[in-house]
């Protein structure tokens, strides 16, 4: 069967050039970077090179990049690290209603331990307002954590504006206020520069960038103090103990280098295909709603709610036609509540349950998009034929006066 992968926001295939770069470190260059001998130093210099590449992708200095296992660990180190370090100075965190589940869970856990958490709303466009951040800031706020681009709808948050606000507050005397941004979905899909953003901490993941799973990084601006969450080794300048995953980090570095060099063409390619896809869906499927701001968003994500049907049924129907996507339906996540992100846009439960995320990648082709545009209306039609909600709406339409 023909297969089309439109779930690149979940994970990306590994770029063959990245595999090639990491291979020697699985075999002959197997040293431990902490060792003083030749093998160790060879591994050490490879990790340093990777660190420089990841730093270069986001406009950071190499010493500001802490390698770790992925986005979730980066979010843990950033948020818990700051909160534990600053516990005597304040216990208030500002975050948003649309963060990745890891950020949400970390904030929930801190709340249970006595921190206060303000979760800012988004509006129908899926974007947080600077004024809301300003209004939520208190003297005891120690951390603002706002994602750079949302993982379900791709909307880009005003992190640079928030960064300017945080610096302003710091200049006015609130020295212990820090800004974290989860940029896991953003890097490699939009220009991302820590100086432009003014963030102090930024989470990144390798496997969204055509490198293997198991590696990530936290950007830590010089002077930002964190309580380490993983102790027991001197690695990463005492910020994250544990022997470095050398092959994975080499892969991450190469993927970051390629992303930096190819960023403009990747964005152009993704945007072209995404726009073509959305125009095709709008032409061929009725009763749909596009979720999130149509302009301020990543070029690779299209999130659409299909009325009268439920997302997981659509996902399975598409999968049986070889098309891989993801859904915000509760059914898929194993919870009773449908996607909090779609709900945060003010959509009703039916639209939240019927939301599907199509996420394109650098390997997606025009031809694949054309295939999905054939499969999707079929899958939607299959489910709507069964849906009592759709049949009822059709009957009402037939009766409505013209």
């Amino acid at each position: 069967m023909r297969r089309v992968y439109l779930d690149n926001s979940a994970t990306t295939p590994v770029d063959p050039r990245v595999v090639e770069a990491m291979m020697p470190y699985l075999f002959e260059r197997f040293g431990n970077p902490s060792s003083v001998h030749f093998y160790g130093q060879e591994a050490r210099s490879a990790v340093d090179r990777a660190r420089r590449e990841v730093a270069a992708l986001v406009g950071a200095r190499a010493g500001e990049v802490v390698f770790l296992s992925g986005g979730t660990e980066a979010n843990n180190l950033a948020i818990r690290g700051v909160c534990e370090q600053q516990r005597e100075r304040g216990r208030h965190i500002i975050t948003t209603a649309i963060e990745h589940s890891s950020v949400r869970a970390i904030c929930d856990a801190l709340e249970r331990r006595g921190w206060e958490v303000t979760r800012l709303p988004v509006y129908e466009d899926g974007i947080v307002r600077l004024e809301d951040v300003r209004a939520a800031l208190r003297d005891d706020t120690v951390l603002v954590s706002v994602m750079l681009a949302n993982n379900e709808i791709g909307t880009i948050q005003p992190v640079a504006d928030i960064g300017a606000l945080v610096r302003e507050r710091r200049a006015a005397g609130q020295k212990h206020l820090w800004l974290h941004t989860d940029a896991v979905q953003a890097i490699g899909r939009m220009r991302t520069d820590v100086e432009e953003l003014g963030c102090d901490l930024m989470s990144m993941s390798a496997h969204k960038l055509y490198a293997p799973k198991g590696a990530g990084a936290l950007y830590v601006r010089r002077g930002t103090r964190l309580a380490p969450q993983n102790v027991g080794g001197h690695q990463e300048r005492e910020r994250r103990g544990g022997t470095e995953a050398v092959p994975l980090l080499v892969a991450f570095g190469e993927a970051a280098r390629l992303a930096r060099l190819e960023l403009d063409e990747r964005i152009e390619h993704l945007r072209h295909l995404r726009d073509r896809f959305e125009a095709g869906v709008a032409d061929s499927v009725s009763d749909i709603v596009f979720n999130g701001d149509r302009v301020r968003r990543l070029p690779n994500i299209s999130n659409i709610s299909f009325r009268y049907i439920e997302g997981e049924g659509l996902l399975i129907n598409l999968d049986m036609q070889g098309v891989a996507v993801s859904t915000g339906s509760a059914c898929s996540s194993g919870s009773l509540e449908p996607s909090p992100v779609i709900r945060a846009l003010g959509r009703d439960d039916e639209l939240a349950r019927g939301s599907i995320r199509f996420s394109l990648g650098r390997d997606t082709t025009d031809e694949e998009v054309a295939y999905v545009l054939e499969a999707l209306p079929r899958a939607v039609e299959n489910l709507r034929r069964l849906s009592p909600l759709y049949q009822k709406a059709q009957a009402e339409r037939a009766c409505a006066p013209v």
Partner: protein, 120 residues
């Protein structure tokens, strides 16, 4: 537990989807927790289910249970139909993950309601 091939086949090729214009027994039930819905219409002649049709909205298990139930019902006596259990519906789908068993419960509940509503 992933969904079985049988289950997916019910989703791809639902049996007896739709409604009956000349139904003798109809019921539409919903799960108040998750909002899933199942509508069943039956044509009953001479104490037998002559035809069964279903419509469903919600999680795939709800759709598949509707399809499996509508397929099972054809030709059964009303008494036999009344005896259908959740386990039989789950069995007809090649099993269901434990947290999806409620879909079979909705199917049984809708069937019993329809039989209660039967026109005499």
């Amino acid at each position: 537990m992933p969904y079985s091939e049988l289950f997916k086949d019910h989703l791809a090729n639902p049996r007896n989807a739709g409604e009956l214009a000349d139904a003798d027994a109809v019921a539409e039930q919903s799960n108040p927790v998750c909002g899933d819905r199942l509508k069943l219409s039956l044509r009953i002649r001479g104490g037998r289910v002559e035809a069964a049709r279903f419509l469903a909205y919600g999680c795939p298990p709800t759709l598949a249970c509707g399809s499996a139930l509508a397929e099972m019902l054809g030709g059964l006596t009303v008494e036999e139909a009344r005896q259908i259990t959740r386990a039989e519906i789950v069995g007809a789908l090649g099993g269901l993950p434990s947290r999806k068993q409620h879909a079979a419960a909705l199917a049984v509940e809708t069937l019993r309601e329809a039989l209660k509503n039967q026109r005499h």
